[in-house]
Structures are given as C-alpha cells and as structure tokens.
C-alpha cells in the first residue's frame, strides 16, 4: 500500500502534467484556426492552376508534350518528398507518415526501383534516418510553423525541377497529411512528375475555344514548373493545418486522461487516509479497554 505522502506527490505530478497538456491544447486550437484559414485561402490558386493544366493538357500533343507532364518515359528512380512535422506530441501524425513512407519505399524497392528522399520536417527524418538515411537527398526543417512561406515551397520546387532535368529521378511523389477536419487527417500521395491531370475535366471548359499566348506547348512548359511549387506549397499548408489539428486532439485526450487518473488517485488517497484513521481509533479503544 503506497503511503499517503507518495499518493499526494503522484496526484500533484499528474495535475501539473494536465496543466501542460491543456495549455498545449489551447495553443494548438488557436493556431489551428489561422492555419486552417490559410490552407483554405491557398486553395483557389492551386485549383485554378490545376484547371488550366487540365485544359492545356487535353490539347497538348502527347509526343511533343513537356516531360514534366508526360514523364521521361522511364520508371526507374523515384523521388519521394515526405512532409512531416518538426515537433512531436501530436498523436499519430508523424507515425502514419513514417509508416506510409517505409511501406512505399519497401514496395518500390521490391519492384526493383531506386528510391531517393527529400524529408521536410524533423520527426520523420529522424525516425527513418537509421534505415533509409543513405537515400536522403536532403532533410529540411524549420519550414513549417504557423505560417508557411511560399518562397520555401518554391525553393523545394526548384530543387525538384532541377533534379528532374538533370535526370536524377524519373517520378516524383509527395507524401503528406491532408487536413480533412479538426479530428481527422488523411495520408495522401500526390504525383508531381509526371503531373496529375484530371482526365474527367469538365467538358464545358473544352468547348470554349481559347486563344493561347504564346502557343499551347510553350505555355504548358511555362506553367508546369510553377505547378510543382504550387503543389508543394499546398501540401505544406495542408500538413501544418493537419499537424495542429492532430496536436489539439492528442492533447485533448491527454488532458481528459489525466483528469480520470486524478479522480482514481484521489479515491485511493481518501480510502488510505480513512483506513489509517480507523486503525488509529481501534488502537486507542483497545488500549483503553485493556486498562
């Protein structure tokens, strides 16, 4: 049976943990609102870019289309851009990304392909460094926070594009957590190169005969590199909103759990105290009777 003093110490320690987790929950909730807002405001740009690419790609001649759109005809080396968080204490957020990356790498290697990695965010980079560290091209951190700068996404995009042109890889995919709602995130794999084109683009757009300035293929060649940066930017925005949402949920659970623990410990504490009092009374009474 633990002593009263031990129980008291334990209760106090759980109480201070609870204070920390509930503060973290509130901080995450406040930041989430801003991150969610900027993720939503970033969508129009990405959506319109995709629309333009869809309509251009529908018209482009597959044989002369830019390689960023159709790929370079090979499928040997894959580049994965993995977006996780810099900080922990956000439930399964980094875990799912790490697991998904590990599975994807295993799958690609099983097919006899070479895999290269660009890791954004410290957590997954650290947990995979031991097994996959030699495939890292780069591990970046400190990009994500409450606000994601487009310049950071553009510099990653620039590296990806330069690497592709130098023939360092054939296919590029981004792995990130997509923000679905405050309580759920979804691991998403998005192909950057070759660019994803929605074949079922609304036919209404195609019926309009657009004028192009310059010609379609030149325009397509100008748009595709920008699209890479845009897609990376939107992945970063989604991921930071998802991270905060995951942290908020995790900390909410932790706070509630600490509350339950405090209740249980308090009960044990009161029982123990009562038992001690009863025992002392019995001793006094039986002592008095003996006299």
């Amino acid at each position: 049976m633990p002593s009263l003093k031990d129980l008291k110490t334990r209760i106090n320690s759980v109480k201070s943990t609870q204070k920390i987790t509930s503060a973290m929950k509130m901080v995450a909730a406040a930041k989430l609102r801003r991150a969610q807002d900027s993720a939503e405001r970033g969508r129009p740009y990405a959506d319109r870019m995709q629309q333009i690419i869809n309509s251009l790609a529908a018209k482009a001649d597959p044989s002369s289309a830019p390689q960023l759109l159709v790929g370079n005809g090979q499928d040997k080396t894959h580049l994965l851009v993995v977006v996780s968080a810099d900080r922990g204490l956000c439930g399964g957020f980094n875990g799912v990304i790490t697991r998904q990356t590990r599975n994807e790498v295993a799958r690609l290697r099983g097919e006899g392909k070479t895999v290269k990695l660009i890791m954004v965010g410290r957590k997954s980079a650290d947990s995979l460094r031991r097994e996959l560290g030699d495939s890292y091209i780069e591990a970046l951190e400190g990009i994500q926070g409450t606000s994601v700068a487009f310049a950071d996404a553009a510099s990653i995009g620039e590296k990806v594009r330069a690497g592709f042109e130098a023939g360092e890889f054939d296919v590029c995919t981004v792995i990130f957590n997509k923000f679905k709602s405050a309580i759920s995130q979804e691991v998403t794999l998005k192909k950057l190169i070759p660019a994803e084109v929605d074949e079922a683009a609304p036919a209404g757009d195609q019926s309009v005969s657009y004028e192009y300035e310059p010609e379609e293929d030149e325009l397509l060649a100008a748009v595709l590199p920008r699209n890479i940066s845009t897609q990376i930017y939107s992945a970063l925005l989604e991921s930071s909103a998802a991270e905060l949402a995951a942290r908020m949920t995790a900390m909410d659970n932790a706070t509630r759990n600490a509350g339950d623990l405090i209740d249980r410990l308090t009960l044990v504490y009161n029982r123990t105290r009562q038992a001690t009092i009863t025992k002392e009374l019995i001793e006094i009474i039986s002592g008095a009777e003996a006299v």
């Binding site: 405001r41 319109r48 870019m49 333009i52 487009f150 657009y210 300035e213």
Partner: protein, 117 residues
C-alpha cells in the same frame, strides 16, 4: 454604369483582389494587352510588370506582379501570380525594408516594385 468585367488577382496565399473593372491592362509575355468585357477567351503567360485596373475611364488601381498567368473569359479576368504588390497601398519604406530582409527572387521583385513606386 458601363459594362464591367470581373477581375481576380490570386496569389498562392490568398485572393488578393476581387472587383469589377471596365478594363484591365496586363503585362503579357508577348506584350501588354488590355481586356475589355466580352473579350474572347484567352490564356496568356505574363511577364513581370504592372496590372492596371481602369474604372470610369481612369486608372483606379495598379498592381505590380511577378509574372504569372492570365485566364480571360467574356465575363472575368483571373490573374495567377506568385508575388504581387498593391502600388497604391505600398509604402516606400516598408517595401525597402522588406527588400533588404528578403533574398533571391523575392528581393529582386521588391526592388522592381521600389523602382516602380
């Protein structure tokens, strides 16, 4: 009220401008072009330059953009650009200090904005 076209200036972070205009002049990659209502559908690459918004026969707003795309239809002009700056609201000192703090393409753009102010 004259016929108008709907202008949208969209950057990766935000929809910066959303308003109706009588004419929009955009810096196309192959030269400046003006867009009036009922313009034929056009998709154009843009160079770094100034987008002019005309209202009541006068220039109402000027925006510096760092290249991008213009998607023109009969009723609307959508400009997608990575960086944009409102030349009527930007102050010289503010842009100057941001240009000093920034690097690469960003600094380059802000210096161009400074020159246009």
């Amino acid at each position: 009220m004259a016929e108008t076209t709907q202008l949208e200036l969209v950057t990766p972070a935000d929809i910066m401008v959303q308003k109706s205009a009588e004419m929009v002049v955009a810096p196309g990659a192959e030269g400046l072009f003006g867009v009036l209502p009922r313009h034929a559908p056009l998709l154009s690459d843009l160079a770094r330059g100034i987008v002019e918004v005309h209202e009541n026969g006068k220039i109402a707003n000027r925006f510096m953009i760092d290249g991008g795309l213009a998607d023109v239809s009969g009723e609307s002009v959508t400009i997608l650009t990575e960086r944009a700056e409102d030349l009527d609201k930007a102050s010289r000192d503010d842009v100057k200090s941001r240009a000093d703090a920034a690097s690469g393409a960003e600094a380059d753009f802000l210096n161009a904005v400074l020159a246009a102010l």
